[in-house]
């Protein structure tokens, strides 16, 4: 295998594995910048994965190639509705954010499997027929060297995720909405005094995280697992949470951290196809991503500081 071949294999599998993390981590960024800690990303992803698979199985014949993309929207909407639970509990009902988020994680897998049993009368769904395959950008794929590595047989959702993260960075740091959202996460009293609707902003933050987390789960289900069962989403939501913290609550940072996790994960999966790596005992390849994450975190990042009012309830005075 030549260098370009190795690189293109690496890049495409990195993209595939990191896309769900990118979307979900971006969701986490928005929720936490509004001041609501969201450890329920795992549960939101599960609901997104569940609903997109059901949608995909039901409408694959109607929408054909478009099905997985519509599945993303369905997963996003269901994730958004599911995250309402977290929003109401934390914003209106003064619930502890960690407990409420944990409820999402506890609720989603049994609910998904229960519904699968109720709908299909078995514990897991069939495999979907319309999944995200490989995609080549017309024109761009023909550029020498860069083309085959980045644009040929690559993952289209990954490019969407990267573009979305840049847009969301711009929204968070360059628009009035973003400034207000961050104000609610840093100092809700001050924001309230200035006339910002703190509850509204926090709802926006949580619901955006629900939508993006749902998309993350839908991408995972339709690009990687191909079906829904109790073991479809096991830990990806927590990895996304880690990516968000790693990326210092910044959309671009979260995207880069997700890409790194995806890269590390794909190394351990495709390692046996690569020269040099295939001589390393598999256990080292398996634990390498996690060890490297800790090492990098310790060496280069040190303390990561959350938005000041993250995780604190704001109770408006009367």
């Amino acid at each position: 295998m030549n260098l370009v071949g190795i690189l293109s294999l690496l890049v495409s599998s990195t993209f595939v594995y990191s896309t769900p993390l990118v979307f979900t981590a971006l969701g986490g960024v928005y929720s936490e910048n509004s001041g609501i800690t969201n450890v329920g990303l795992e549960g939101i992803m599960t609901m997104g994965a569940f609903s997109s698979v059901v949608f995909n199985l039901t409408f694959a014949s109607t929408f054909g190639k478009l099905t997985p993309w519509l599945g993303l929207l369905v997963g996003g909407v269901v994730g958004l509705l599911f995250s309402l639970l977290h929003a109401v509990a934390t914003i209106n009902f003064h619930a502890d954010h960690v407990i409420s988020g944990t409820v999402l994680n506890l609720m989603a897998p049994p609910l998904g499997v229960f519904l699968v049993k109720a709908i299909y009368d078995k514990g897991q769904t069939e495999n979907i027929t319309q999944s995200f395959g490989y995609f080549s950008f017309p024109g761009l794929a023909d550029i020498p060297v860069i083309g085959p590595i980045l644009f040929k047989n690559t993952s289209a959702p990954a490019w969407v995720a990267i573009i979305v993260s840049i847009i969301l960075w711009w929204v968070l740091y360059k628009t009035r909405f973003g400034l207000r959202l961050r104000a609610c996460g840093e100092n809700p009293q001050a924001a309230d005094t200035m006339g910002v609707n703190v509850y509204g902003m926090r709802y926006a933050g949580v619901l955006i995280s629900g939508f993006l987390g749902g998309i993350g789960g839908a991408v995972f289900a339709q690009a990687i697992s191909g079906n829904f069962s109790i073991s479809t989403i096991v830990g990806q939501g927590f990895m996304a949470l880690a990516a968000m913290i790693f990326g210092k609550w910044n959309p671009i940072g979260a995207m880069l951290a997700s890409l790194f996790f995806g890269f590390a994960q794909s190394i351990s999966i495709i390692g046996n196809q690569l020269p040099f790596f295939n001589h390393i005992p598999s256990v080292y390849m398996q634990i390498a991503p996690y060890v490297i994450t800790i090492v990098i975190l310790v060496l280069f990042f040190g303390k990561s500081v959350a938005p000041a009012a993250d995780g604190q309830n704001y109770i408006k005075s009367k």
Binding site: T90, A95, T102, P188, Q189, I245, I294, S304, Y314, K316
Partner: protein
Amino acid sequence: MLKVTPKTKKILVPLISIFAGFLVGALIMLIWSYNPFEAYSSMFSSALGNMNGIGETIREATPLIFTAIGFAIASSAGFFNIGLPGQAQAGWLTSIWIVLANPNMPKVILLPLAVIAGALAGAVVAGVAGWLRAQFGTNEVITTIMLNYIVLYSCQYLMQQVMSSKLRIDTDTTKTITANGSLKIDWLSSMFGDSRINAGIFLALIGVFIYWYLMKKTTTGFEIRSVGANPYASRYAGMSTKKNIIYSMLLSGGFAGLGGVVQGLGTYQNYFTQTTSLDIGWDGLSVALLGGGTAIGILLAAILFSILKIGGLGMQTIAGIPYEIVSIVIAAIIFFVAIQYVIGLLFKTRKASVEEPEQKTDGTNTANTTSTEGGQR
């Protein structure tokens, strides 16, 4: 609106949460046309209706008590320890390995040795996260998540490649441990209809007492709680933040490790390859949240949790209702516990009482506009 004393309210609110959780489960069953009465009666009768069921329920609760205490200790120091599964797994493999490697050692030495070693293994895993946090400020959420995976794959490797093949049946299962290292007590098992109940429950009760004593009666416990409540003030008062971070994580991991020990030396009597993070770790987290982090709360929550889990199996076989409903009920109960502020609105506390200031529960206090009760627990 009912008028009650704050003390009654403290008992009523969780009871209503539990009731509401069951109600949510019943509603979901009704929507999909299952019979909730049949479901719940079969659940309770199989978990509590015979000695075997009771024994299994207690057995199920045993490791959860330990992992929940583990979560609660870290939590009171202000840390979110989601590394419980990995810490428990380290304790499980370590204790089994030690017992298998010493088949001829007398029980009085071997059993304590294996239990302590298991606790130490859990403590070491958590201690890594604690040390990194204290030394470099590395976020413990990330490190404990990563450590879960590292332990998961390392245990697989250690068992399959490092452990002598004489100690194993096949690559995925170890031999059953000998009686000199087991927590099984024959008369106890036969008393509870040959269930897998074991001496672990006594260890767990001791653990609950130690946890209560440690947190409420010792300086270490006080320091851990104050560092959790306000690290800056604690430092100003002369407490070492670093020391307390490491202590609390070591203790947390030690208890989680014991959860794995009772699972190994008590429930399964062997170790077998795990493909995902241990359930007792995640369930311990829920139990701790349900029990509000108090010693007695954790004990009661672990029992409730186990009634649901063991009863759910009976419900599935007897009434033919998917087991998942149990987990939905558990999640719903925890949800209602989390929004107890709203449930508390149902009651008016009597003015006479001075112990509990009213603004905490009814939110009418205007001077205190933010409530930090959320993020700092």
